[in-house]
Structure formats: structure tokens, C-alpha cells
């Protein structure tokens, strides 16, 4: 199948998966939660096939490269990593409510690609590097981990009162993991995302060093990745050594995810710099 067909299919399946997770959350229907899982998995397969088919197609055109080189390709991959990490986390957290907040993120990310230029472009000299793949994969695994943590933060904020107690009433709350479990979960996933982000920054620095002769040049993208890094470093210290739990740490993680989004999209759209898809 063609890449565009597969992407369209994945968008639809993700939407379906979200709807079933929502039904599961609202009417506490167990089976629809399972359908949500299955659809998310099926969507991920179609999505993977789409990425693979684009990769193969680029080789067929004689300009073969991993599909990580412009805004469209990065957004497709971002959505893919979100679903992957969401599915892994669902097994861990034992609550499908997470799917109801994370799947819409994956769906929106992937749906937004239909507005972008999806032409396969040859790699300009600066992008012809072995670091490209390692850099993109590590960065987006980090971003996606933060996105899933953000999903758990939303659940936390939506279901607990100011004092960290469970809000009363509502069918959804019955399925909800305890607030401490959600809090701990988002911490654990940030503890995985943070080393990934660090690896992403390091591979980016190594790449910059071979392309521009300097491992760090305070380009806006670099600086924003460092800002994100500082925020999550602060978060980890706040939790591990300062004993922050609950709302305070949840809000810090929310701030971290906003900075992550700005680092990924805001910098490209609003600021100028060296990054390739800044203009794309």
C-alpha cells in the first residue's frame, strides 16, 4: 500500500482507538477498553508500515534516507513514538484511562501531517550524517515519554482535588489508579525520557561538531533543548532529593512538557536557527 493511504488509515484507527478508550472511561465498559488497545496496536502496525514504505520509496527514487529529515517526517515519527510508549505504559499502569488522554495526542499529531508538504526530498549536505537517525530517534523517544507523562499529569489534575485527595463522584474515577500511583508513574516515565533527551542532545552535539565545527553554538533549538533539560533535571531533583510529590511536581512536569512542545514546534515556527526544518 502507498504511504499516504497507510497514514490515512492510521489516523482513522487512532481516532477509533481514542473513541473506544473514551467509552471505556465513561461507561466503564471493559471490552471497549480492550478494543481500544487492539485498535492502537493495529494503528501502530499500519503506521510502522507507512514509515517503512516511505523509506523504501526514497531508495526507489535514488535519494534513499531514513524518513527523519523534515517537519512532516518528524511529526509522523513523533506520533509513532507516542503510541509506542503509550502501549508500553498501559501494560505498566494497568489502567486504560491513560489511553483516553494520550491517544488524542497521537491522533492530532498524525492528523496535522495532512496539512504538511509530504514530498520526499533529497538530503541536503548538512543532513547527510550518520548521526541523523540516532539523534531523531533519541530526541523523539524523550519527547514522547514526556507527552505520556503529561497525559498522566492531566489525569492527576482532573481527578484529584487541591489537597491531593480523589474528587468524589463520576463514573470515570472508579477506574482511576490512586493519585500516588499516577504521580509515581509520570515520574518513572520522565526518568526514562530524561536520559533519552540527554542522548538526543549529545548526539545532536556530536553531529553539530562534525557539521559546523562546534558542539554547542547556542542556536535557539539547542538552547531550548537545554531549557527542557534544566526543567526536567529540576523536576528529578525536586522529587528525588527534595521529596516533592503530588500537585507541585505534577505542575512542574506540565511546564516541562510545554517547554518540550515549544522546543519541537515553537522554535521552528517562531524563532530562526540552524535546524533544517525551520523553514519547511
Amino acid at each position: 500500500m502507498k504511504e499516504s493511504t497507510l497514514i490515512g488509515l492510521s489516523i482513522l484507527i487512532y481516532l477509533g482507538s481514542w473513541v473506544f478508550y473514551l467509552i471505556h472511561a465513561i461507561v466503564r465498559h471493559r471490552l471497549s477498553g480492550k478494543v481500544g488497545d487492539l485498535l492502537a496496536l493495529a494503528g501502530l502496525l499500519a503506521h510502522t508500515a507507512a514509515i517503512a514504505s516511505r523509506w523504501i520509496e526514497s531508495h526507489r527514487q535514488g535519494i534513499g534516507h531514513a524518513p527523519f529529515s523534515n517537519l512532516y517526517e518528524s511529526m509522523v515519527f513523533f506520533s509513532w513514538t507516542i503510541v509506542l510508549i503509550c502501549l508500553v505504559s498501559l501494560r505498566r499502569l494497568q489502567s486504560r484511562l491513560l489511553g483516553a488522554v494520550v491517544m488524542p495526542m497521537a491522533f492530532l499529531a498524525l492528523a496535522s501531517t495532512s496539512l504538511m508538504d509530504r514530498q520526499i526530498q533529497p538530503l541536503v549536505p548538512a543532513l547527510q550524517s550518520n548521526w541523523l537517525t540516532a539523534h531523531v530517534i533519541t530526541c523523539f523517544l524523550g519527547y514522547a515519554a514526556f507527552a505520556v507523562a503529561f497525559g498522566a499529569n492531566l489525569l492527576y489534575l482532573g481527578t484529584t482535588s487541591r489537597k491531593g485527595k480523589r474528587k468524589s463522584g463520576g463514573a470515570i474515577w472508579g477506574l482511576m489508579p490512586a493519585p500516588e500511583v499516577l504521580d509515581e508513574f509520570s515520574y518513572r516515565i520522565i526518568a526514562v525520557g530524561f536520559p533519552m533527551l540527554t542522548l538526543g542532545i549529545i548526539t545532536g552535539a556530536a553531529w553539530a561538531n562534525s557539521a559546523w565545527g562546534s558542539y554547542w553554538s547556542w542556536d535557539p533549538k539547542e538552547t531550548w533543548s537545554l531549557i527542557v533539560w534544566f526543567i526536567y533535571a529540576g523536576y528529578l531533583h525536586a522529587r528525588i532529593v527534595r521529596g516533592w510529590r503530588g500537585r507541585r511536581s505534577v505542575w512542574l512536569s506540565v511546564v516541562g512538557f510545554c517547554a518540550t512542545l515549544f522546543c519541537y514546534l515553537g522554535v521552528n515556527l517562531l524563532l530562526s536557527g540552524l535546524h533544517s526544518y525551520a523553514t519547511g
Binding site: Q121, P122, P195, G213, S214, W218, T223
Partner: protein, 491 residues
Amino acid sequence: MKKTLRSTLDRLEDLLSSTRFTLFLCLVLAGVSIVGTLVPQNGRPEDYEARYGQTGARVLEFLGFTDLYHSAGFILLLSLLGLNLATCTARRFPGVWRSLRRAAGADPEPALAHWKNQDTLELWGDPERVDVDLERALRRLFGRPTVRAGSLEAGASRFARRFEKNRLSRLGPYLAHASLLLILLGGLLGALFGFRATLILHEGEESSTVWIEKEARNLDLGFAIRCNRFVVETYPDGSPKEYRSEVTVSDPRTGTTIDAAIRVNHPLSFRGVTLYQSTYGSSPDFVLEVEDRQSRERVEIRTRLHAPFLLPGGRGERAIAMDFRENLVIPAEMMRMTSFPREDLGPAVRIAIVDDRGFQNPFWILKEFPDWDLRKAGPYRFRFLDLHLLRYTGIEVSKDPGTPLVWAGCILLVLGFLLSLLMDHEVTWVTREVTEKGAIRVRIASRAVRHPLAYEARFAAKKERLRKKLSPWLEEPLDGQSGVRGGDGRK
């Protein structure tokens, strides 16, 4: 007086080594860094004035926001972070190191009384064989035994053991922090002893010095670089595929000569200096004819932009090419005042006579209208004979003795994260005793040092696996018979 000084110093040290200060620095650095991504960095003063007004530009300049990441304030924040990392590590590391080195107490009772993760098993069968299986299973699940109290010899009715797993993960945070210091140190080393410069080389040109912008001086590289050719390759759709500088690097002292190609992402290293493909372009090379009206002396001069040249006539006067247009266009409203047949005048170079007061009365000369010369009355007559566009390559020349430290720091940092964030030090106490009925009773208490909550689920899984591994010994034999009974035979 002395006392208050000391207590102030103590308090200062407390502040510097506190984790609250770490948290504060992380968030402040994040906040301050944002400013530098909003205000353009290292721009020209006139651009700031155009954008922020005169007062605004002066305020930004004063605050150091125009070169934020190299401003004293930012470097101070980074130094404080470095100091904080160092003092935190120095304060806490010895304690952790000692506790890792020191043998733990031999008493399992506090663990069995208080730890949250507990399990009790009763095993039946030949003690020697049970113990072999038990030992193997415990090592698999709970790591290495580090403390033994009581012996495992047959007949000993009771022993206690402490198992530990991922002990080294305790060192993770220190490794991570030390490697951050290493990276900062590498950055400092690069800033102090490194240099960066852009070397513009026209095809056929050679240079052994570079201009260091930051220090406003020429630096002798000790070897010469010659650009033989600069090539741009394109894809069929016209987008760039490769920028390549074909260079010859030669060291006069050793006589070594190397031919190499410098491409984007494929720098060339030579004697500790690295050469990167950075930019390219073309610059004009003019052939001018100048005549001294008085002596009728006429010379042909080949020159470039901004390179003063000697004028004929023997008066030692000089001129310079100030500006160049590939096609000089007369504004439409000026057309009526001139006698030119068209608006596009073609290649033009702007010449000025240089004297000690500066550049005098600059004027344009045109290649396609050689006889047009506004300075007919002056002492010289200029003609623009020919133009060559010379391609040049811009090579970034840099030396950074800090990079090995930075890369070493990066590798150790990742290792430190692996140890501290993705692994946990697990401690497990196990006691074994023989009950009155002849069963071997095993009691287990276990905990993880850093992430106790996450460990609960893992411990539950370990309990299950332990039962699976020891399943042959879990059934109580009927009437002293040996052998295994299936089903739910246990009462």
C-alpha cells in the same frame, strides 16, 4: 566577630551545597536561557536600534542580553551550578562510599519487622537438595549475598543472609554529576585555549594564517592550506547534494603535503586543528586600466574589493575598489537626467582615491560603458576592462582542546543516568530455619533504596518467580513420604 564570619561561611557553604539551590539554579538557568532565544544574539548594533529603539538597544546591551550566553551573569550562574555540583558531591559522596564499603549489620530482624515487601515460604524435602535450589533461586532474583550469618552446613538450623543487587547504582548520581563537571571543564578549556575562525580561500589561493575575530589578531597555523577547487554538486531537482573544497595542506617544517576533500559533515583534521566546510560564494576580480592624464602613463591593474592599489604618475597615490554590482540599475526617475540608452548598466565597480583623510569622492565605472567617466577633469582616467567571478570556499578552522573531555563527560553522563535512573539498589534479607514439623521455613524481606514504590510490583513478580523455581519443594509430603503431590494437597 570571627564567630559570625565563620557561621556566615558555614551558612554560605550550606547554601552552595544544598539541593534546594540546585533546583533554583536549574529553573533560573532555564528561565534566563529563554531570553537569549528571543533577543537575537551577537547582532550588529544598528540592527538592535532598528528593532528596539535607541534606549531599548542600550538597555539590552547593558544587561548583556545581546551576547547572553557569554555574559558575566550567565557565566556566573553556570559557575555556581558547577560549584553546587562539586560541593554536593563532596558532601554526600564519602557517606555513600563508606556505607557501600562497610559491612552491613548481621541482624535481619529490623528488616523482617519493618520492611514492606515480605514473603514466607515453607519448603519440604532433603535439606541439602533444597538448599542448593534455594541458593540458586535467591541469587537469581536478589543478587549477590553480601552478609552471611550462621552457616549453611547441614544441621545448622538457622542462618540469615543479606542479598544485594545493583549495588553500583548508588554511585550513579555521583558519576552523573562528576561527568557534568567534566563537560563544564571541557567547555572552559575550549574557551580558554581553543580558537575558531573562518578562512576564506579563493580557488587557487593559499593561506597559513587565520583572522581571529574575537581577539582581533592574525594567528599563524604553522601549516598552509590551499584551495584547489570548490565544487557544488546538485540533485536532479536542483537542490544541493554536496559542497566540497579540494585542498592541499602542507607543513613546511616536515615537508608533508596532503591532498584532501573537505565536505560538510566530513571535516579534515591536521595537527590538532580541524577544518570544516562552512560556507562558499564568489567574489569579483577586476581588471582596470588607469591613466595619469598629466604624464600619459597608463597601467593595467588586477584587483579585488577592499584591496588598495598604487596609481600611476609616480605620486604614490592609492585607490581602492569600494563596492561592486553585477548589474548597476539606474532608478527610473533618474533616467531622464542621463544619456544612457537603458536602465541596466551591467557590471560596475565603485572606486575611491585613498589619502590620509580617508576615501575621497567615490565614483562608479562601468564595464559596458567604458568611456563614461564622471571624473574626466580629475588627474586620472579609469576604465573597467574585464571582470572575473572567483569562487571561494569558507572553511571553519577550529581547535578545541576541551572536546575529548566533553565527549568523555557525555559518555559517563549517560552511564550515570543508566545507573541512577534506570537501576535501583535492592537489598534483601533472607532467613532460613527448620520448623518443628521438619519444614525449611524461609523468610524474605526486601526493599529498593531509591524507588520503593516501583519496587513493590517488581517484588510481587519476584515472589511468583521464586515459587515457580522452588515448586518441587513446596508440597508437604503425607505421613513423612517423600515425593511430590499435585493439586491442592496442602492444608
